[in-house]
Subunit: 591 residues, 2 copies
Amino acid sequence: MTHQEKLTAIRNQMKADNVQAYIIPSADPHISEYLPKHYKCIPFASGFSGSAGTLVITQEHAGLWTDFRYFEQAAEELKDTGFELMKQKVQHAPEYIQWLTEKLGKDATVAADDKLLSILLGELLGQKLAAKGIALISKDYLSPIWENRPALPAEKAYLIEDQHTGQSVKAKLEQVRLVLQQQGASQHLISSLDDLAWLFNIRGKDVNYNPVVLSFALLSQDQAVLYIDENKLSTLEKETLAKSGVMVLPYQDIEQAISGIPANNSILIDPKRNCFAFYKLIPSTVKIIKDTNPSTNLKAVKNETELANTRTAMLKDGVAITRFLKWLSENIGKSTITELSAAAQLRKFRQQQEGFIGDSFTTISAYKAHGALPHYSASEKSNVEVKAEGLFLVDSGGQYFYGTTDITRTIPMGNNTEEEKTDYTLVLKGMIEGCKIRFPKGTCGYQIDAITRKPLWDYAINYGHGTGHGVGYFLNVHEGPQVFNPTANPVPVELGMITSVEPGVYRPGKHGIRIENLVNTIKDTSNDFNDFYAFECLTIAPISTKILKKELLEQTQLEWLNNYNTAVFEKLSPLLTIDEAAWLKTETKAI
Amino acid sequence: MTHQEKLTAIRNQMKADNVQAYIIPSADPHISEYLPKHYKCIPFASGFSGSAGTLVITQEHAGLWTDFRYFEQAAEELKDTGFELMKQKVQHAPEYIQWLTEKLGKDATVAADDKLLSILLGELLGQKLAAKGIALISKDYLSPIWENRPALPAEKAYLIEDQHTGQSVKAKLEQVRLVLQQQGASQHLISSLDDLAWLFNIRGKDVNYNPVVLSFALLSQDQAVLYIDENKLSTLEKETLAKSGVMVLPYQDIEQAISGIPANNSILIDPKRNCFAFYKLIPSTVKIIKDTNPSTNLKAVKNETELANTRTAMLKDGVAITRFLKWLSENIGKSTITELSAAAQLRKFRQQQEGFIGDSFTTISAYKAHGALPHYSASEKSNVEVKAEGLFLVDSGGQYFYGTTDITRTIPMGNNTEEEKTDYTLVLKGMIEGCKIRFPKGTCGYQIDAITRKPLWDYAINYGHGTGHGVGYFLNVHEGPQVFNPTANPVPVELGMITSVEPGVYRPGKHGIRIENLVNTIKDTSNDFNDFYAFECLTIAPISTKILKKELLEQTQLEWLNNYNTAVFEKLSPLLTIDEAAWLKTETKAI
């Protein structure tokens, strides 16, 4: 079936149901960022392979709503599919809703599979449409036309030991139950896979990059039931879970369990991280409390074991990055290196490290103008040769049994322009400000974000993405609740939270620069004013000073940079060969 | 009647009604910050004269909830009144609600005069109490026991001309009506006095410091009715209003007007700036849209006339401040100067200026340790002599026919300690960073706040108040919607908004330092990244460099300071005597 034929088949079903518009979001019933093949509905329907977007189909029009990161790719992939690119102004904003309310008349009906809508989105959509007299119903028009739709993943899951997680499942359940008690909730539904992986000390291979396993859980004060394909666990693993008070039931049984919650119970449910379909299954006699999953907040604050292991992962990752940078500097201009081959080489260096499991996301290996696309992903088609000139941006990360890494370095390849040098220096200034910040307890991400951006604002430069995101422990490379970005998200930065600091400058057609470290929140000092916190740089990899305009740095920034590079050498050199250490010595020389 | 007797009289009424708790907030039916004498319920009932607080009375307990600014004053004023000071952790937070839900049993009844509760507070209170099975009713237990309660103010109001406001009432009504249309509202109730003063180009003398007049308004697309004591306006003024399409009706008629809104109308009402009583009067057939008053947003963005006039007011204020500083420097140690006499002298200098109407708030004249109380107000009792040593903090402002000013200078009186010098320099660093900031369009107050605080955070110092507040045009010295503080308030800083920048350091028992300028948001530059904005310093008054630790300032900060002081001299010297100009020349000398 061509995409055109699929579109016709969807429209025929719509006609039969008297449905005027059909929405296909990028999601699964766990409201995941990375989807198992079974849920890759947008690539199936439209051919668009980007990771963010929404399809909206009417009889007259079919559109893909996505943001600037994907404009080029979408324009290419949507050719002859019958879908038109609809450029979104704000990332992740459901701008198609207004389009729908303007295009559709009163008494129209809109359909979407409500397993693919978060509660938040489902309610918003329902309200906005209802205000215009438009109905919202749930329909799945893809399954009937999806020949050989991939089955749900059947990969084995595995449990990780307490000594590695630093906290037992029992202890985690106790913590969550305490929050439930405080919130007056007798039941708690969890659908988000990283919350489940953390709570049950379980990992899997069901999706790319995130070591999670498809499952749900329903908790009460005396029961904890994990809904999971039972073949994913061994008998021994089930016994281990049982000893922690966790019952295992089939994945599909979750719906029945929700419908069966007894009257007069109250359920805590996270509207961002559960699907609308399940929400509607909750009996009307059950009181609903909407709030963030307690596990999301608990998981974000890493314990001592997680932090110690993460430091190990960072050393391993730093060695791989150092080898990659050395390899690049020594081979550039000698053998042919492309964006893709460089990424493959970096992966090889990571694979040499004990405990490496896989990449934590698709490596962004972006040379020259490609670097100006913040989420560029090199394909066979876009792949270009990397030469001994310009800037080469590499944003990559690894999943290690010891933790998750995420690092960006922008590598001066030679012959750099004044603009490249200035931009590089300003991004580094921002990154240093973000890393060396001291802030009072209670400070939120938007405050860290502003202080990181300031050195760029001073030069009338800004970047369109956030300054940083939370990072999991051997889990998702993007996790909440904390985030460093300009939006008014009142989540304080707590001790033990791991977050990225990654300002950038993007000049379309020219270059992109981003420099990223992961940081841990630590105690700094306490006095009559407050407790003050600071960041510990977890990422250990050299920052190039080759094209730095030293005169643009303040003394404190220069000191930070020299201290950082010195520490990188001191920590990594014992793990390197003599040759490698010598190379790193030069690379990290104080300026 | 003593306060003890009043308390008994209130408790007797409570008993008769089977009411277990009575709440007395600091508010009027306009939800004002400054109250007419008629509504000074807290001083009447308890003797506490501070401007923020709430009384809660049960049979067993009577408490005043207020924040740290008033702890000393309240402890003093509440002696032998029967009221106990209840220390609030967070300014303006209704912490007494939790206290009530913990103290009162199910089926209890709480009473409050719902004309003194904002809609927001009324609903919150109702919900929190209802969740514990407690009822909320409206009662006024003060009027029956308040002998000779002051009448509502009968001061004359006056209209100001379009050439002075830069926009006619007609044009303003049009703008508001456009917003109503966009929001789908057919009616709009306004109770907030500064919104009304702006919209109808009317001023009055009904409360201290704010040149407003008690009134309400109900707008529709074809009607605008101003509810006001008709004696406050002349026949001519009523005619002028009528020509702008404004009907004038008696103040008391507003309640009847609200109850009489026809079915199927929709009303826009600001839940923070209208009283709960009026909200309950809205017929159930009327759809309620809760949002910020359109006039609040429109008023905040000053037009060219308002800005030009404000610049005139700033020159006048700068002259007064300069004369005050010179007077202080020349008389200190020679004649006796106290906090109160200094404030009086400053007022005299302001009064010499043409167009001066009055102070825009109570002058904070705070010597040495008194400066550490951010909202200190000198009384006959607390008044101390100002000597030729330590720091003297003066935060003051004027209402001019040309605009509203608000300025803080901390004056080094001599013999300053190293700590005083460092703190002074750091506050100035923060203030300079806040003033010289460049930021992209869309930036919110919390981002400005973070960048202003950073120089203090670097030294593990913080301050407990916001960095800045919006300022009216010949109106309230505190106005929204923009605010520079750490809370997640997503209001972008728009061109033409006037806001204060006033970081501080407070060391209890030692000293307080605050330096404050008002700034206007102006265009800076536009490029591919964004439109960038900057601040124009409106306040024109010297900043002392006497105790500055120059080595702690960055070069850009030093340049800003020297440029600022030079501009102060250039702008003020033509308005000064030769003597004064000579003094200012020295005071503003570049360092």
